[in-house]
Symmetry: C2
Subunit: 218 residues, 2 copies
DNA sequence: CCCATGATTGAGCGATCACTCAACAGTATA
DNA sequence: TATACTGTTGAGTGATCGCTCAATCATGGG
């Protein structure tokens, strides 16, 4: 973490690229723009990063290493209840959408669909970020497990929550209104509330009914 | 639709761009590549489309005008039950993920996060495609309304289903495994099943939190 | 002092980017 | 045949792309 040696140019480039990638995407952000905003010359960038993709990797590593300071801590300072902390995290993305007028959503989700077919290391880091997010949600759900059905699949539910959030951000950014996000979180809240209040009646989602599995459904 | 006049070059360019945008994204696909794959010269493209963005607009209009043939009809031929038709549509995306080895997800979702900050007409068409998809799901849910709670917000639930699907595709493409998609659809199936099987006990998701019994929160 | 090392400079590389345009071909109508 | 209109051609535009590199600077140790 603390890069105590050096002049700070490397960190400056990572943070500049991070912000520009978030606003414009990876492909739409040129190296020339990054170095111009950072106030350095192209050679300096390529002294630290062999390619533009290595800079993207460093940005994704930054997100992975700063999830607590940037995402969790502001929520955990306000909220103690583990279940409400999960919805607090979701509310953080809501604030981001509103404050940036839907220009910024989830940094990882933005990049995920854009660079999925690129270098394996990039995909690996996208996955690491998603897994870290999911694990943190799962940790909170485990702390609230007393209120949830015993047979609940906490990792699966956590991943489901991530799916809902990413999809809802996509719709909110496209529509440029918060309604799709609020609608999705409300449904999610209802789903979780049902587990809390009626745990014994909760059916573990397991029956996979894919048409591809053969039988014609009527 | 039936462009009976002309030589077909315009349609050929739209379909070629559609396929390349789906595989590589909008920004990563160059005009030179489109005309090379289509077997025409750059001048022909710019005879029909003033800018590359106008070609993207034509592609989005194509998706809007061909949702039935490309997405719904293959499902509706197999499945009659309106509720199962919804999950049949979702299974179509599952097949796409598997058949393309996670290279192709939802064509609209791919573009949505990439070009959200571009020309208003593009955003408008992305929205039109999402709304059309949601409306079709809502139509099916309405046909199945007899099995659903009377007070259910069908448009809201339809939009929620779209959120879940788009987020699940994002995760499946990043992880390069179908598990996140199956997990999300299973949770969605469970959510809908609960409404069908226990409609009277279903509460409209809005202000339903920690009803009567002891408050543990904070 | 000298030197090694880390860091920076800035001109400039070839390739590709979206895009242009004057010339021309094909076909139908007059 | 003459005119008009729809497409097509392909060389070529300036700008920007990611990236290179020999030269230079700053700094601390021996």
């Amino acid at each position: 973490m603390g890069n105590e040696t050096g002049t700070g140019t490397r960190d400056l480039l990572i943070e500049t690229a991070r912000d520009l990638f978030l606003l414009q995407g990876y492909g739409a952000t040129g190296v020339a723009e990054i170095v111009r905003v950072a106030g350095v010359r192209p050679g300096s960038l390529y002294y630290f990063f062999p390619t533009k993709e290595d800079l993207l990797i460093a940005v994704l590593e930054w997100y992975r290493d700063n999830i607590y300071e940037g995402l969790l801590q502001p929520v955990y300072e306000r909220i103690d209840d583990p279940l409400e902390r999960v919805f607090g995290i979701l509310d953080g993305y809501r604030q981001m959408l509103l404050l940036t007028a839907y220009d910024q959503g989830c940094p990882i989700g933005n990049l995920a669909l854009e660079v999925t077919n690129s270098h394996p290391r990039v995909r690996e880091l996208l996955k690491e970020n998603f897994v870290q997010w999911t694990d943190e949600v799962a940790r909170n759900l485990t702390l609230a497990a007393g209120r949830l059905p015993a047979e609940i699949d906490i990792p699966g539910l956590s991943e489901y929550i991530l799916s809902v959030m990413e999809g809802a951000i996509m719709l909110a950014r496209t529509y440029r209104t918060i309604d799709p996000y609020d609608n999705a979180i409300a449904h999610l809240r209802d789903y979780v509330d049902r587990m809390v209040e009626d745990g014994t009646n909760w059916a573990k989602p397991s029956r996979f009914r894919h048409a591809s599995d053969g039988e014609k459904t009527l």
